[in-house]
């Protein structure tokens, strides 16, 4: 199936790519994040925003279009990845999409390890769905630096159009912002035309203030997206962390005019959670960010819950997982 007029993959060229800027340490060190206040905002958000009926169905379709359908397991095989890619092309049962008038809906990208990139690129040929590769010694990012840089190049060469790099957490924990900036700059350069998502591994950064500062440094160094987590940390995407990161994105846009994307990853598995995230993005960043070129969910099980909710929307009856195709 080919993508249709749906704006699932909005052409990336509509936004100028974040060129970065020289490291501005005053800005970085001046960033504040009051944990209690941020948690209060996050805790009340689900009660402040509610999306119902057709709007809910449309928002859930939007969530589907922003999913980076992901498999990052040691037992991944090429066939397994091909199955996932097939699901990426047809994320929701055809009859449901037809009833919703949403034929042609596909996910934002497929996200795999380097060794699976070629298989994924092949499986997605003609779909317009990009392949994202996790890279730079994912998830810990502690392999030799030259190998981490080289890994990016290999994945790009294999056809990955998006590279999800992991930062060195120790640079953040030690307050060595210059080192973080330089590392990110090198990663960005190695990506060439491929877009780079900077994974902060927020669950390992200790404080929300560190999350805010690391977000700014990565954007200054040219990250196209900032992303919460590898999915392998103890704590992955949360609303408070998301609030801090998207406020950094907002400030960065206000000062530079560049729109940087946001990708929460790990721990988002329910349709209702996805709606809360979309409303958070809509309220804090604005509608422009509700598109796959600026927003992605890093998720593997979220899609299944959304499929069931969409069927419920059409039938008025709660659905079952086995009624929808596995990925």
């Amino acid at each position: 199936m080919q993508t249709t007029a749906l704006s699932t993959q909005l052409p990336l060229v509509t936004e100028p790519r974040n060129a970065g800027l020289p490291l501005d340490l005053d800005w970085v060190r001046g960033a504040q994040a009051n944990t209690s206040a941020i948690e209060r905002r996050a805790a009340t958000l689900p009660g402040r925003r509610s999306v119902k009926k057709d709007w809910q169905a449309a928002w859930l379709c939007r969530a589907v279009s922003c999913i980076d359908l992901t498999t990052l397991s040691g037992d991944d095989t090429e066939d397994r990845v091909r199955r996932l890619c097939a699901k990426a092309r047809q994320p929701v049962r055809a009859d449901i999409l037809q009833a919703l008038g949403m034929e042609g809906l596909s996910v934002g990208a497929v996200c795999v390890y380097h060794d699976m990139v070629a298989a994924a690129v092949d499986a997605l040929k003609g779909s317009g769905i990009p392949v994202a590769a996790v890279s730079t010694g994912f998830p810990a990012g502690l392999s030799p630096f030259h190998l981490r840089v080289a890994e990016i190049g290999e994945s790009v060469q294999a056809g990955a159009r998006e590279i999800d790099i992991v930062i060195s957490r120790r640079h953040v924990l030690g307050g060595d912002w210059q080192a973080l900036y330089d590392e990110m700059r090198d990663f960005r350069a190695a990506c060439g035309d491929a877009h780079v998502k900077a994974i902060l591994a927020t669950g390992e950064l200790g404080t929300l203030r560190n999350v805010a500062r690391a977000s700014l440094v990565c954007m200054m160094a040219g990250a196209d997206f900032i992303k919460t987590s590898t999915g392998k940390e103890g704590v992955n995407a949360t609303l408070p962390v998301s609030l801090v990161m998207i406020r950094a994105i907002r400030d960065y846009h206000a000062r530079t005019g560049f729109r940087v994307g946001y990708k929460p990853a790990g721990g988002i598995s329910k349709a209702k959670d996805a709606l809360v995230y979309l409303s958070l993005i809509k309220d804090e960043l604005g509608d422009r960010w509700l598109r796959p070129d600026l927003f992605r969910f890093g998720a593997s099980s979220l899609l299944g819950d959304i499929e069931r909710q969409l069927e419920h929307h059409l039938t008025g009856r709660y659905s079952a997982a086995y009624r929808h195709a596995a990925g």
Binding site: D54, W55, R62, M102
Partner: protein, 776 residues
């Protein structure tokens, strides 16, 4: 609009909460309500419509209470009170627990009905008002259970008349009824005429809880009914939440009646943002400060003070956030700002904003619904303190702002107001936050948060925001009184005489003002005679200018409140030491004036009292309230300020020392009017003050006619409290004049009783709650 179009537009769309259950409840009640008196609804009488402000639709017809209705309600409350008190705290706890449970069981019904009636977003009534109301009944069920053990010396006041506002109809009902019932009182409550429906639903659950008849009575109607309650001789205590203007009238109306009174009034609460704050969180805090309930909140953070260096960035962020606010149908679960309660209020807000000629007005970009009673979130920047809107309470979704340069200037601007309800401080610097918070003239201070409430932490104001606290241990004082019977206080007259002086050399007592002896402004003196008619001396006749001078001296000594309790203790011990050294002289003086032989004992008792309050000076600790957040609510016992006091007439020295010692021990400054018939011990006493390191202005001593001076001292706008233990009948005039700046009063109403140290300490302090959420 189809799914595909919404997929592109990503609009929110409607998310209505159903009103069906609430409307069905109204239909079940016949859409017409009488009053709830003695456990049953009366037949509906003549009345008025209650409307949904979002649509203008009539929800129900309510009855306007007559004087006869109020009489019956008060009589029912009176009849029920002794038995309600006698069932004991444990017995009352069971009923309060049942009420809490019933509020939970009917939570959504209460929330939807509240939103229909008041216009606030259903999110707020569902997630804030109703849960807090439940919490208040749970908390006070516990207070009832613990009363006998924890408050053994206090008992119920009796019948409480309670008048509540329209902005938090159910929550204010809970704040009033829960503590009153817990302490063994019965109540006659009047909800606001615009918003009576949840009070009537509450009456319904009182029946479901099996609450004894007459314990809770609810009468509906307008301000005229409130006036009947205030004036009713069968009521022992009035509790009012509402405007400062009405609060002032209530203070005047109850003056001299002996009715206990607590007032929770208006505010113009400062919201201070320092340059190191998390600005995004501070902006979000403002949404909860001034657009919560459409700014129709007495403690709304309505006055933004932002540090100059970040002002532009902050205002830009704030405007962007404002433009994202969704204004609309209060029953929609996805809106931020609902309807204004009534067109009268909307017109008032409109007139105030339209009358503002200074500053720059920014209105939120979000569209207002067609029809209904709405006002857009509004920001007025660039105002100065002298602009009326920086001073006057708007009580709507309108934020005014100005800038400051330094922490000191922030405090100065924040406190430059007649109000003193709440304040908010945003900074990431713990030193700054904890330094600023107690300096703000406010009953509640929130650090890096705003509008946090809980039953465990007292809420209430200083200055013209009223007095009394609701919630916490400190709130129980408003619904209890000390046990033991007061005795009538006979007037104590001065002796007449025509005799000659018995001392060798003439002595010239003066007034004691600002640590110096001062001749009276008027230049008159009054002669004091002993019982045998002998001339004991002449004392100055104080006039209003001497009062002015004394109050100015006391205000200039504000540093006393910042000294340590340890230092104040040392000075009080030193006073005792120096008084002891002159004990025989004071005893003789007392005996000469009173014509009795009690002087020695009175001096000994005075020394003991100084020791007692020296002991308390560094031990009257605050509390850390157990509030349900990660953080603390620090309840600090802060000095009231400048206390004016008319000292007891019968005990010339002990009467003075009894007032002075607790007042200055807690950090207040005192303007003391000596015993009118026997003033010479007080004028001798200033020599003891002079030799005991008491800083000038902390204690000021005046002599003269209590009746002449009472209106001037009680009417002085820079005095924070007035006490009277005088045998002259000045209680009424003090309470009436105190209405001017709503100063605290503690008067004897012609009676005397033995007050405990706790009574004195509590009168000498004001509990300020500082909320400090934390976490990194």
């Amino acid at each position: 609009m189809g799914v595909k179009e919404i997929f592109e537009s990503m609009e929110y769309g409607p998310a209505p909460e159903s009103a069906a259950e609430a409307l069905a409840w109204l239909v079940d009640q016949g859409d017409r309500f009488g009053h709830f008196i003695n456990g049953a609804f009366t037949a509906p009488g003549d009345g008025f419509d209650s409307r949904n402000p979002a649509t203008g639709e009539v929800l129900a017809t309510l009855s306007q209470a007559t004087a006869a209705d109020v009489d019956v309600a008060v009589a029912a409350a009176r009849a029920a009170q002794p038995k309600w008190e006698r069932i004991g705290g444990a017995g009352r706890a069971r009923f309060l627990y049942a009420l809490a449970r019933l509020l939970q069981k009917h939570a959504r019904l209460f929330a939807v009905l509240e939103t229909l009636d008041n216009g606030k977003p259903v999110r707020e009534s569902r997630d804030i008002d109703v849960p807090l109301a439940q919490r208040h009944f749970y908390f006070h069920a516990g207070m009832a259970q613990l009363m006998a053990d924890q408050l053994p010396d206090r008992h119920a006041i009796g019948v409480c008349g309670q008048i509540i506002p329209w902005n938090f109809p159910l929550l204010m009902l809970a704040w009033k009824i829960a503590p009153a019932l817990a302490m063994g009182n019965t109540v006659v409550l009047k909800p606001a005429e615009w918003t009576s429906l949840t009070a009537l639903l509450f009456a319904d659950i009182c029946r479901q809880a099996g609450l004894p008849k007459g314990v809770v009575n609810i009468v509906t109607g307008d301000g005229a009914v409130g006036e009947m309650i205030v004036a009713h001789p069968g009521i022992d205590k009035i509790a009012f939440t509402g405007s400062t203007e009405v609060g002032r009238r209530i203070r005047q109306a109850t003056a001299g009646t002996g009715k206990a009174l607590t007032l929770e009034l208006g505010g113009k609460s400062p919201y201070i943002v320092f340059d190191d704050a998390d600005l995004d969180s501070a902006v979000e805090g403002l949404v909860d400060a001034i657009w919560f309930n459409g700014g129709q909140v007495c403690c709304a953070g309505s006055r933004l003070l932002v540090q100059e260096g970040v002002a532009d960035a902050f205002i830009a962020k704030l405007k962007a956030r404002m433009d994202g606010l969704r204004i609309g149908d209060p029953l929609d679960k996805c809106i931020d700002v609902g309807a204004v309660v009534d067109p009268v209020q909307r017109d008032r807000i409109t007139a105030m904003v339209d009358g503002c000629s200074a500053g720059v007005i920014h209105r939120a970009a979000g569209a207002l619904p067609d029809g209904g009673c709405f006002y857009p979130p509004t920001l007025i920047t660039g105002l100065s303190q002298s602009d009326p809107l920086m001073q006057e309470e708007i009580f709507g979704p309108v934020l005014v702002s100005t800038t400051f340069r330094t922490p000191g200037e922030a405090v100065q601007l924040a406190n430059n107001t007649r109000y003193g309800l709440a304040a908010t401080v945003w900074t990431e610097n713990v030193n700054l936050a904890l330094d600023i918070a107690p300096k703000l003239a406010a009953g509640v201070v929130w650090v890096n948060a705003t509008n946090l409430f809980d039953a465990a932490a007292g809420f209430g104001g200083v200055r013209e925001s009223g007095f009394g606290r609701e919630g916490g241990w400190e709130g129980l004082a408003a619904y209890t009184r000390p046990k033991g019977k007061p005795r009538p206080l006979a007037p104590v007259a001065a002796f007449e005489g025509a005799g000659e002086p018995e001392d060798g050399i003439d002595r010239t007592p003066k007034l004691y003002v600002g640590g110096k002896q001062a001749r009276p402004d008027g230049g008159y003196s009054r002669t004091i005679y002993g019982k045998r008619g002998q001339l004991l001396g002449q004392v100055p006749v104080t006039n209003r200018k001497d009062i002015r001078n004394a109050v100015e001296a006391a205000q200039a000594a504000a540093g006393w409140g910042k000294t340590t309790g340890h230092l104040r203790a040392q000075i009080l011990y030193y006073l005792a030491e120096n008084l002891s050294a002159r004990a025989a002289e004071f005893a003789a003086r007392i005996d000469a004036m009173t014509g009795k032989r009690g002087g020695r004992d009175e001096v000994a008792a005075s020394i003991d009292r100084l020791f007692t309050y020296a002991a308390w000076a560094d031990k009257y600790d605050g509390r850390v309230h157990s509030v349900p957040i990660r953080g603390v609510a620090i309840a600090m016992n802060e000095p009231v300020g400048v206390i004016g006091a008319f000292c007891a007439d019968d005990a010339p020295l002990l009467g003075l020392v009894s007032v002075m010692a607790p007042a200055i021990a807690m950090g207040n400054r005192a303007v003391l009017v000596a015993s009118e018939p026997f003033p010479l011990a007080a004028t001798d006493f200033y020599q003891v003050l002079d030799t005991s390191d008491v800083p000038g202005g902390v204690v000021n001593i005046l002599t003269g006619s209590h009746a002449d001076l009472a209106p001037h001292l009680a009417g002085h706008m820079d005095v924070d409290a007035v006490w009277s233990f005088s045998s002259s009948p000045i209680s009424a005039v003090i309470e009436r004049e105190a209405a001017g700046n709503l100063k605290r009063t503690w008067v004897n109403n012609g009676q005397t009783r033995d007050w405990s140290a706790q009574d004195w300490l509590s009168a000498a302090t004001e509990v300020g709650n500082i909320w400090v959420p934390y976490g990194e």
